[in-house]
Symmetry: C2
Subunit: 346 residues, 2 copies
Amino acid sequence: MRIAVDAMGGDFAPAVVIEAVADALREIPDVDIHLVGHQQKLAHYLLKAKLKESDRLHFVHAEEVVEMSDLSTAAIRSKRHSSITVAAGLVAEKKADGVISAGHTGAAVAATKVRMRMAPGVDRPAIATLMPAIGGRFVLTDAGANTDCDPLNLAQFAVMGELYAKFALGIENPRVGLLSVGGEDVKGNSLTKEAFKILSKMPINFVGNVEGNDMFHRVADVVVCDGFNGNVALKTAEGIAGAIGTWLKEALTKDAVRQVGAFLAQNAFRDLKAISNSEEYGGAPLLGINGVCIIGHGASSPKAVKNAIRVANEFAKHSLPEKIAARIQECNVAVGVKTAASKTDS
Amino acid sequence: MRIAVDAMGGDFAPAVVIEAVADALREIPDVDIHLVGHQQKLAHYLLKAKLKESDRLHFVHAEEVVEMSDLSTAAIRSKRHSSITVAAGLVAEKKADGVISAGHTGAAVAATKVRMRMAPGVDRPAIATLMPAIGGRFVLTDAGANTDCDPLNLAQFAVMGELYAKFALGIENPRVGLLSVGGEDVKGNSLTKEAFKILSKMPINFVGNVEGNDMFHRVADVVVCDGFNGNVALKTAEGIAGAIGTWLKEALTKDAVRQVGAFLAQNAFRDLKAISNSEEYGGAPLLGINGVCIIGHGASSPKAVKNAIRVANEFAKHSLPEKIAARIQECNVAVGVKTAASKTDS
């Protein structure tokens, strides 16, 4: 498949992205890459990585870059020649099958929505992220694409998250839970109470409300919420995990006995660190648009970016966007939603 | 001061509550307790704890109990003689200065709102909880009293949280942050964007948006959000911390070398555990009602319940509810909100 790579996206771009592209071309035999970015700025790094244009590597110029400080929608409107917009455009023009970026998340969402458009029947796209839990991982969606949602949006996130869980976690019939403040059906806010009703009517394995703490006991394979809540939950988990790491380090270096203990147990701490490592997934997909899009963490390593390319390639090979569109149509019918034509949505 | 104690509230009630009351009477010289519950059901435990009615301990009968499975509002409507409603009634009737319960949170919120009513100018009460962070604690509010909020509610939670931070953390001029999905002023959902504008006009130390991960670096002393988000954040933090504990245990017992290391470093793990221990605060206050209310965790230990009594006693001595009412009036004026008379709110 053909993957458009945003060379300018990420805290360590373009160096990390170009290193990742070199690795991807070596390790993933069936991928072609369209490297999108400011060619003059890339030249030095390409030379260093000994990368030249070939039938598997195409260079596409993009004059502008979306900076992390830019506002997403404004950036996409004013910077029509930014690397992420040009990369998304390649998919829209059928010159590529998917796009990956480790840059500005909001800009990637806005650019792909505008250029690639929503899949038929999907109202809003959702970021799906894999979260570690006891005994495995679960999908949290939406992790931040939409700050304000309506109940149908949440129900559609569930459908898209279900397909992603099947694909990424290999679960046959993923259990879908609704993030709420109590396990009982009646608990929640006005948004989740309405979403609960729609989810109950859909032909999915809906297991009801799931609380923030229960997520980590993997009571559901997919946890659905609006993008505001999802982002808060994701970052809260990151924040407290980081704090625990800091406290543990402090506690383990307090005296010599503890230091010896920590030295002997060092492999245990390495194991612990590995659990939260999401490098192998490379990033979070944006589901519900016409084409594959993987959004990497700003601080992505070359390995993470390479894996984002690998995952995007796999998604495209398995026609995940088309499968999502078909499943959404099916679920829309089940709850009596008329499927509108493909549309863009700010 | 006189504190009404819900004897029937909590997973281990009444045993734990009565043990706590005995300890409180011994250790806190200036507290009088009204123990509210089903007297026949309490008799055995009172005998065991050698507690008799005195000028410092009063027994108040309540025929009913709110079960954890009850719906909060329905329970308060149908069980008019439940221990929490009777206890809140004692404060309303000026027979007590505060109430504590480790029972059903929703029922405690509903009962105190109905019986004690909102403080003048306060639209909705908020649960304020102390969260651990690197280098200290911060106040998260609302942690679950209100699932649906308007922007003014959030602004008022900030004002109440500020006073609680002054009191509980001893901070002179607490920094107030708004929980959101980006540090920039313009980021957020429709609720937080409006709340941001109101908070900017209030005479408080508002430091802008705070992200879920930054909370744990203590970028603010008070973090404000709606009760749905607050509850999700709180439980997500609890959940991932619990999962990390499980993973750490597994990793440390994998082989003999790690086990020796873990043994030597055991005091470090004890220190780590102590950070998340909230027993000394006893519970989370419900701020914004006419009188003191502390809501304990369902699984509260006798020490936690005793400390809830101690904290309630301190709050009452320092007239925290009256100070909150005065400060709310001041901030309402600053943002042009007309202060309504004391009212109840479902």
